[in-house]
Structure formats: structure tokens, C-alpha cells
Amino acid sequence: MTTPLEGIPAELVTAELGAGSVHLRVDSQLYPLGAIYAAAYVFLDRCFVLLDRPDERNIRVTLAPKKAGADETILRTFVGEFSNELLSAAWRRQIAQDNRAVIEMVTSQAISAAMGPPSLDDLASFDFGDESFEDPLGIAMSWEEKYKKKDKPDADGTPDPEGKP
């Protein structure tokens, strides 16, 4: 049986005290799925978290604290913390989108300056295998490799060591 929690609108949150769980109705137009995921992820260590979509607009988040014996007070606390985390995640997501260019630029500059160019040892261990990149113009091939004629064998079958292009 679901019951409302005191002070929280029943249309948004209901609790199943017997099951030790609480259901939140989250408007996915206010809180993008990415934000719901981000908030849910934070609670996976402390709660069993179940998401469902009862209708196109809303997502239902069910939280069941892993520690047995969750009463109304504990459930209210989880609802509060989840709501705060959800808001934080939504806002952080928005900020990251708005400032993506500058964040990426600064990060690239910081990391590339700290890393510096690859050393000969780094290049030696780099995988230049067949699947590394496409080279339709043969730019990465050496001149000899690109233009070498097929060796013509001598009369006795030995290839000409002075094979000319």
C-alpha cells in the first residue's frame, strides 16, 4: 500500500513503508534522462534503484535503501538527497553543455602541455598496424616501398640485388 510522505506532494512522491521503498515521479521535461541517470548512479551503492516510464512525460524512480528497516524518516531523507542530487546533475549538465567549447579547449591545452610531444620511446611502442589509419595515397609508405619494381630473378632464379625502380 502506498502512502504519501508528510510535507511532500503525494503526486510527486509515495512510499511503500512495508516494502521499505519510495517512488518519485520525475518530469523528464524538467530533468533530462542524463540527469536522472547521473543522480541514480550516485545512489546505487546505498539503494536498489529501479526506473520506469509510466507515461511519455514522466519517469518513476523507485528507491529502496539496501539497509533493512527504512522507516518514513529515512525514506524522506533519501527523497531529499535524491532530489538535490537530481537538481545538481541537471544544472551541471546544462552548464557543461553551455560551456563545452571552453571546457574542451582548456582541458586540451592543459593535458597537451603537460604531456608534451611523444618521445622516440613512445613512438616505438605505438601501434602503427594495418588498422591504425587509412592511407589511400600511400603517404605513410616509404619511397622504396611505394616505387620498388618487383625483383626480376636471374637465369638461375636469384633476384637482382640491384633491382631498379
Partner: protein
Amino acid sequence: MTELRLHRELYAGTAVDAAVKVYARFAAFELVEEASHWIVRVSSKNAARETQVARELANYALGTTIRERGGVQ
């Protein structure tokens, strides 16, 4: 038998499969596909274990889904 209804828009099928594999030795599973949900039916002789496995499996599937789909869109 405990039935998990995992919405296709919210849970990746690959994540659900991975979760079932992880918990395979702790219970018996039946997987069914509905239009809107992945259905995982969990059965165990021990009722408490059955509930525990179902919950842990759901968490695992959700965590894996989030990791697969994570990042700013």
C-alpha cells in the same frame, strides 16, 4: 518468481543481458521481450534470495546502462 520490468528506453538490452550473465549462478532466469520492456523473471527456492538477486540484477543493469550511455549529449 519475481518479475523485473525494465523499460527499453531506460535500460540497454546489452546491459540486461550482462546482468543476467553475472547473476546466472545465483538463480534461474527467464527472459522475455515486450514492446516496451525487457522482462526478467527470477526464480529461486529461497524467497529472500530471489528478491535479493532481482534487486542486485536491476542495479547492475542500471549501472551498466548508465556507463554505456553516459556523458553529455
